[in-house]
Structure formats: C-alpha cells, structure tokens
C-alpha cells in the first residue's frame, strides 16, 4: 500500500472497514459534571492500515482506543470492530492491546508472561510453546524467554509486551503510547522494528502517540485530535512509501507531512483560550 490510501473509484477495490466509528459520542459523568471525552467521532480504518492518533492531553485518544477494546462503552453513535460489536470482537480475540507500561508479571518469566493470554484463552500446551517461540523471534527477544522482567531493559520489556499482544494472532493491534516512557534512541530502534513487524504480519495498527516524528514515521494515516470536547480535527494521509528507513525523516516529503500534522494540531488548539 504505497502512496495515499486508495479512494473508492474506478479500478480500486473497496475494502471492508476493520474499524468503523459513526458519530461516536462518549460522556463521562464525573463529580465535577459531565466530561465530553469523545464528540461526533467518525472514522473508518481498513485492513492493514497503520493509523496514529495524535493530540494534546485529554483529547480522547486513550478513550477511543478503549472503546474499540470494549473497555469503555460509547454513550452515542455506533462502533463496529471486524464487523461486530466491540464486545463480540473481544470475545473473538480480534485485538491485542499494548499499554504504556509493559505491565509484565514480575513472578513470571518472559516466556510465561507471553503465555498468559494463551493460558486464559485455553490454547493447548504444545501450541502455547510454539506460539511463544514464534512471537519471541518476531520481536527479537529469542533467548530471553527464561529471563525475569527485571532482568530486561525497559525497551525489551515493552517488546515483550508487544509479543504478548501478538501471541494469540489478533489481527488488530491497539497501542497506547507504547514507547512513551522510553528514551529517544531506544524509541527510534523500536519504531523501526515495529514497522518491520507490521510489514511482515499485515496487522491493522492503531497507535497513540505524542510525538509528531513518530506518528509520521510509522503511519499510513494520522488522525489529529483536539480536546474539550474530544474530537477529530484532521485526518492526514501519508504519501511516504511503505519501505521507510530511519533516515527518511530527513527527506522533504517527511518534513512536509510533519508540518501538516503540526498545522492540524495548531488549528485544534485555536479553540483554546
């Protein structure tokens, strides 16, 4: 999928949306009155896309991801995941969720941590081993299966948590600032690996970040959001080729996209006083 995402038209195949949000609304009732976390959010994400969500704190990025994961329930509008309700999609193991913190169990080795979802979902034992070995290799952690989390660096722990989300073959990967707590150098490295992993597995990725370069480097599409109420202010298609070495970030094309994202963010902020 190089270049802009194909628009419906002559000669293009209309793909079915993996995630389809229609006029989504979510209002939290809090002690200080209602909080409009999502307002009229409409978005359609197709199979194999890498979509980043960027915006100031409190604009509802996490909330949107949590709605997709059926961890929150919208108060208005409709949302379908893989053609099902979010709850049904979860039952069907449609997505893996990666949180900002790796959240590995300190009493389990890396391999056993990756096995956690497999045990809960009742995979046969032999298959568990096989899957653990496969995803460990996928995130470049071969040979670390018997280590405990504290024996690994923060970046390796986060890779292990991605492996855990991949272990049960969900075709959607939801990531909420997965590299937010890591330093820039480690983050660059992980971005590169994540892109390679995405290319190899063809998963649909939803990725929340605060970093413009990260969003531009990774995404086929960038969703810019703005707070109070949380809403989408801009959706930017990336013209960058699918094959992206790290130094693509110095090209004029990359800077141009980054500039557009920055403009989008600024426009969203204009509503603030």
């Amino acid at each position: 999928m190089a270049g802009p995402v194909a628009r419906p038209g002559k000669g293009t195949i209309v793909k079915s949306a993996v995630i389809k949000a229609d006029h989504l609304d979510l209002v939290f009732q809090t002690n200080d009155g209602p909080v409009h976390a999502l307002s009229d959010v409409s978005l359609s994400i197709e199979k194999g896309e890498f979509v980043s969500f960027i915006g100031p704190s409190g604009c509802g990025k996490t909330t949107f991801l949590r709605c997709v994961a059926a961890l929150e329930h919208p108060t208005g509008g409709s949302l379908s995941v893989n053609g099902m309700t979010p709850d049904a999609a979860r039952q069907a193991r449609s997505y893996g969720y990666v949180f900002q913190a790796a959240g590995l169990y300190p009493w389990r080795t890396i391999a056993k941590n990756i096995k956690l979802p497999l045990e809960i979902m009742g995979f046969p034992r032999a298959e568990q081993e096989e899957r653990v070995a496969r995803v460990l290799e996928l995130v470049d952690l071969k040979g670390f299966g018997n280590k405990y989390p504290w024996q690994l660096s923060g970046g390796m722990q986060q890779r292990a948590s991605i492996a855990r989300a991949l272990a049960f073959d969900a075709d959607i990967l939801l990531m909420d600032e997965p590299f937010g707590a890591l330093d820039e150098i480690v983050r660059d490295h992980l971005n590169e690996q994540l892109l390679a992993l995405w290319a190899r597995t063809g998963k649909t990725c939803l990725f929340v970040t605060h970093s413009i370069p990260e969003a531009v480097y990774l995404s086929t599409r960038i969703v810019v959001m703005s707070p109070r109420p949380g809403r989408i202010t801009d959706v930017i298609e990336s013209p960058l080729p699918k094959d992206r070495p790290l130094d693509i970030r110095d090209t004029a094309q990359f800077l141009e996209v980054a500039h557009r994202v920055r403009e989008g963010l600024r426009a969203g902020h204009a509503y603030d006083d």
Partner: protein, 291 residues
C-alpha cells in the same frame, strides 16, 4: 558478619542496663534485711546480694538464664522433657494452641479478604465488624469464651486456639485485602481484554500479587496468635502452658519463673516469625520476586 559487632554492642548495653536496674530495684530488700539483722554491708556485698535473691523484684539475667536452663536443657538431659516441671512441655502446650489458632485465623482471614474484594456487600459490611472485634480488650473476652465453651463441654486446646484465631485473623484480613487489591487498573484491564473470568483473574493476578502482603500479615498474625494462646491460659486455673507459668509465678511471687516464662514466650515468638520469614524468602525467590 559485619552486623555481628553492632548486635553484640546492643546486647551488651541491654545486659549492662539490666544488671544496673536489678541492683537498684533489689537493693532496698537487701538493706532492709541487713538492718534487721543489725549488719553493715559493703557495696560489693550489697551488689552480690541483689543478684542472688530468691524473689527479687527484678531477677538478674544470669538468674533467668539458669532457670531457663534448669527447666529446659537440664530436664532433657534427665529425660524429663515432657513433665509438668519442664518449660518445654508448657511451651509445647502453648505452641500447639498457637498453631491451631493461627491456622484457623489465617484461613478465616484469607476467606474474608477474598469475599471483601469480590463482593461489594461484604466489602461494606465485614470490615467494620472486623475492626470493632479488635477494639474489645482480649482480656475481657477471653474468660467468656473459655467459660462458654467449657459449659458446652469443650475445653483444653480448642478454646485457646479460638482466642488465638480471634486475634490473628485481623492482620490477615487487612493485609490480604490490600494485597488482593494491589494490581493496578492497567493490569486488570489487560485481563479484561483477554475476557478472563474472575477466577482466572484471581489465580493468575490477584493471588500472586498478594504474596508479599500475605507473609507480612502472617508474621503479625503469628505473634498475635501466641499472645492469644497465652491470654487464653490465664483463666484456666493456671495448670498448663506458658500463660499458666506466668500466672503461677505471679501468685507465688516467683519472679524468676515469670521472667523465664516471658523469655520462653519471646524465644518461641521469634522462632515462629523467623520460620515464616524463611518461608517468605524461599517462596518469593522461587517466584522470581526477590532480587
């Protein structure tokens, strides 16, 4: 090895203070005796006498040590370790009630904590009662438990064990509620994304997370159990157990016996808590949680 010197220093300081206090407290009796006999004592004689009285106000450390040895090690050598004169026998009586009570209290405490964490109604209702139960002085309630159970024909170990359980379930409830609630929202959400059942969440996340809390509560609970068993022995007519030794000692002014029973109780408590500490170390190490 480096910790030996500070510990030794502290022990020496305590012993010195103790001897000093023994001289101060027991001096008056020595002087009274001497005055009655019309004797004049040198300071050295006074000090020597304060450490060798039959019923001192405060026995000197070596007197307690000798009594402890005479009622334990010496009895073993004579082959009379399990007779009524032996502190080992009394210690065993107390220990068995302590362990049974500790088992009941721990089991009950864990069950209540599980209920509190999983059931909102229990959360609202059990905790206030548990706290209220601990505000009643155990000395007031122990005789009632003994008398009531005696009247229905239950005596011996069980009433004491129940008092032990009454004291030891509380730290376990408090600790385990905190432990089972220690996983943060993110970890619970992660399990929700796997559609994990409550029992899976319990065994895979809540229970292992609560282990450090459990062992800390067990240590407190064990010490409380021992106190419960000793208190439970006081109203029984002072026939058996460390509590009985304490009471009999105070009836007859046998301060040396009181102090040796106190030390036996302290040594027992330290040993029991030490054993739990050891199990804790081994368990957490095997779980990979100790660094």
């Amino acid at each position: 090895m480096r910790s030996v010197l500070p510990i030794l220093t502290v022990v020496m300081a305590i012993l010195a203070l103790w001897y000093g206090a023994a001289v101060m407290l027991n001096r008056q009796w020595t002087l009274d005796q001497a005055a009655r006999a019309g004797q004049d004592l040198t300071i050295a004689q006074i000090v020597a006498d304060t450490m060798a009285q039959d019923r001192p106000k405060l026995p000197a450390p070596h007197q307690v040590g000798a009594e402890l040895w005479n009622t334990t090690g010496a009895m073993v050598l004579e082959g009379r370790a399990f007779t009524r004169r032996s502190l080992i026998w009394h210690g065993w009586v107390t220990l068995s009630a302590t362990l049974v009570g500790f088992g009941i209290g721990t089991g009950l405490g864990i069950l209540l904590a599980v209920g509190i964490v999983h059931n909102r109604a229990m959360d609202m209702s059990v905790m206030p009662w548990a706290i209220a139960s601990q505000t009643i002085p155990i000395l007031a309630i122990a005789p009632m438990i003994i008398v009531v159970l005696n009247s229905v024909g239950i005596s011996g170990l069980l009433p004491k064990a129940i008092i032990s359980a009454y004291l030891s379930f509380f730290p376990v409830v408090v600790g385990m509620v905190a432990g089972l609630r220690s996983p943060d929202r993110m970890q619970l959400d992660l399990l929700r994304t796997y559609s994990a059942s409550p029992s899976q969440a319990f065994w895979k996340l809540r229970w292992p997370s609560s282990m450090p809390y459990l062992f800390t509560s067990l240590k407190v609970g064990m010490a409380a159990s021992l106190v419960g068993a000793i208190v439970g022995e006081l109203p029984t007519g002072a026939v058996r157990g460390l509590g009985a030794r304490l009471l009999a000692g105070s009836y007859y002014g046998q301060t040396v016996q009181i102090w040796s029973a106190l030390f036996a109780a302290a040594i027992l408590a330290a040993t029991l808590v030490g054993i739990i500490g050891l199990i804790q170390r081994i368990t957490l190490k095997r779980m990979g949680m100790a660094r």
